[in-house]
C-alpha cells in the first residue's frame, strides 16, 4: 500500500481511546473517553468518580466545626477560601457579627491562596504544553506563600485556619512584614512570567482560537471563575455578592471576551496583579481586635436552609446547608466550580486536535477531588 492510501484509511476510521485515569495532563485521576477521527477529537466523555469519597454523606454525621476540615479536601488549592465558605454559612445562619480584624485577615489569606493557586496553574499549564521551565519558576515563588502560611497556620496546603466565629489563632507577628516582602518580590517576578511564556509564539499558537466557549454557553453550562470570565461572563462573586472585606477594597473584575484558552490564561495572569493590589490595600490597615468571636461549644443552626457563595480560585463555590436544628447538618451540598466547568469540555474540544484538548484542560485548571467530592 502506498502511504497515501494508508493515511486515507486512518482518516476515515473512527475510534475510541482512553485518556487517563493516569495521565499527567489531567492533574489527577480523571478518565476521558475520546472519540477520534484521525487526530481530531469528535467527542469527549469524561468519566468521574475515581476520587469520590462521599464527602457530602460524611458531613451529615459530623458537626459543623468538623465539616470545615473536609472542605479542604475538595479544591485543595483554594483550601482557605473553602473553609471560609462553611464558616460564613454558620456565622450568617447564627447572625454572628464578625469583627473587621478577622474579615481583613481572611481576605488577605484568600488572596494569598488565590495567587498560590494561580502560580501552580501557570507552572502546570506551561508544563502541559511542553515548557518545563515554568514549573520551576512558579513553584519557586509559590514556596514563599506556603512559608507564610506555615508560619501563621502551621499548615502549608490544607490550612484549616478558619473556625466558625473567626480564626484558629491570631496572625504571626512576622505576617505583615513577610507578606509585604512577598508582594515587593512578586511584583518583580510576575513580569518574568510574561517574558517567559505569555509572549511565546508556541504558547500563542496552541491557545489562541483553541477551545472556544461563547458567553452564552459559559452561562448555560455554569462555567464560572477565570474560565467563565475569559468568555466575558461577569461572574465574580467577590464583586456581585461581596463577603468578608471585599466590599471595602477596590479591585477590577478581569474580563476578556475572546473565549479561547489564551483569554482564560490572560484572566489568571491579570488576577494575580489584582490580588496583590487587594492585599496591599488591607495589609497595613488590619484593625486591632480579637482573633475569634466567642461561640457556643456545640453549634446548632436554627432549622432552615442556608446558602453561601464564595469565589474560589477556579470559580464559584457554594455551600448549601439544610438544618433540622441539630448539631449536625441534615444535608450539606457543595457546589464545586470544577464540576460545572468540566461539563463544558465536550463543547470546547469537539473538532479540535488531541493536543488542543490538553491545552483546553490546562486552561480550565482542573482539580479532580473538587469534581468528585
Amino acid at each position: 500500500m502506498t502511504e497515501e492510501t494508508i493515511t486515507g484509511q486512518l482518516e476515515e476510521q473512527e475510534f475510541s481511546i482512553n485518556m487517563g485515569p493516569q495521565h499527567p495532563s489531567t492533574h489527577g485521576v480523571l478518565r476521558m473517553i475520546l472519540k477520534l477521527k484521525g487526530e481530531t477529537v469528535e467527542e469527549v466523555k469524561p468519566q468521574l468518580g475515581y476520587i469520590h469519597r462521599g464527602i457530602e454523606k460524611m458531613c451529615e454525621k459530623l458537626t459543623y466545626a468538623q465539616t470545615i476540615h473536609l472542605t479542604d479536601r475538595l479544591d485543595y488549592m483554594s483550601a482557605h477560601i473553602l473553609n471560609e465558605a462553611v464558616c460564613l454559612t454558620v456565622e450568617n445562619a447564627l447572625e454572628v457579627e464578625i469583627p473587621e480584624h478577622i474579615q481583613y485577615i481572611r481576605t488577605i489569606m484568600d488572596e494569598l491562596n488565590r495567587i498560590a493557586s494561580h502560580q501552580l496553574w501557570w507552572s502546570a499549564f506551561g508544563m502541559d504544553l511542553g515548557a518545563l521551565t515554568t514549573f520551576f519558576y512558579g513553584l519557586r515563588d509559590r514556596e514563599k506563600i506556603l512559608d507564610i502560611f506555615e508560619e501563621t497556620c502551621g499548615a502549608r496546603l490544607l490550612l484549616s485556619y478558619n473556625v466558625p466565629g473567626g480564626l484558629m489563632f491570631d496572625i504571626h507577628p512576622n505576617f505583615q512584614k513577610r507578606v509585604k516582602e512577598f508582594i515587593t518580590y512578586f511584583r518583580k517576578k510576575l513580569p518574568e512570567y510574561d517574558a517567559l511564556l505569555t509572549g511565546n509564539p508556541i504558547l500563542q499558537a496552541r491557545t489562541k482560537g483553541v477551545g472556544m466557549l461563547t458567553r452564552e454557553q459559559a452561562i448555560a453550562y455554569g462555567v464560572s471563575g477565570p474560565s467563565g470570565r475569559g468568555s466575558g461572563f461577569s461572574c465574580d462573586v467577590r464583586k456581585h455578592q461581596p463577603y468578608s472585606a471585599y466590599s471595602k477594597v477596590g479591585f477590577k473584575e478581569i474580563l476578556y471576551n475572546e473565549g479561547d484558552s489564551f483569554a482564560r490564561y490572560k484572566v489568571r495572569m491579570d488576577e494575580m496583579w489584582e490580588s496583590m493590589s487587594i492585599i496591599e490595600q488591607l495589609i497595613d490597615n488590619i484593625p486591632e481586635g480579637n482573633h475569634a468571636v466567642k461561640m457556643k461549644a456545640i453549634i446548632k443552626l436554627p432549622a432552615g436552609e442556608y446558602y453561601q457563595r464564595v469565589e474560589a480560585a477556579r470559580g464559584e463555590f457554594g455551600v448549601f446547608v439544610v438544618s433540622d436544628g441539630n448539631k449536625m447538618p441534615y444535608r450539606m451540598k457543595f457546589r464545586s466550580p470544577n464540576f460545572s466547568n468540566l461539563a463544558a469540555i465536550n463543547t470546547m474540544a469537539s473538532g479540535q486536535k488531541i493536543a488542543d484538548l490538553i491545552a483546553i484542560g490546562g486552561s480550565l485548571d482542573f482539580v479532580i477531588p473538587d469534581m468528585d467530592r
Binding site: G54, I219, Y307, F320, R335
Partner: protein, 139 residues
Amino acid sequence: MPGAEIDTEKQFLTATVENGQIHDLASFLNNTPETCFDYLFCESAVDYSDHFMMVYHLDSTKHRHQMVMKTKITDRENPSIDSMCNVWIGAEYHEREIFDLFGIKFNNHPDLRKIFLDNDWVGFPLRKDYTDPVNIVER
C-alpha cells in the same frame, strides 16, 4: 404561575410548585425578559424520608437577582421529574449526580448515566435510609 407557593421570608425568594409544573416554571423564568434567570448555579436534592425535595438555585446575569425553585417528589419507589437540560444545559451533570446518589430519574435527559459510582453499585448513598455496614460505621 397558578398554584405556586411563594416564600419571601427565606434567604432567597422561594417558589414551590407541583412536580409536573417545574419545567414550565423554569422555561418561564428563563425566557421572560423581566426575570431572565439564565444561570443555574446549583441544583440539588434533599431526602426528607417521606419525600424528596428538588432545589434549584437561580441567578440572573442581567438583573443580578437570585431565587430558589423547589418541588416535591413523593414517589419513593420510582421517583422521576422532568430534566432541565433543555433550559440550562449545565443541569446535565448535576442531574446525573442526583440520579446516581438519590436514584431520581430525569425524563428527557440526553445522557442519564451514573456519574461517580460503579454501574453495579447497589443503593443510593445520599438517601437517608441507605445502609452500608462496611463503609459506614455508626459510632
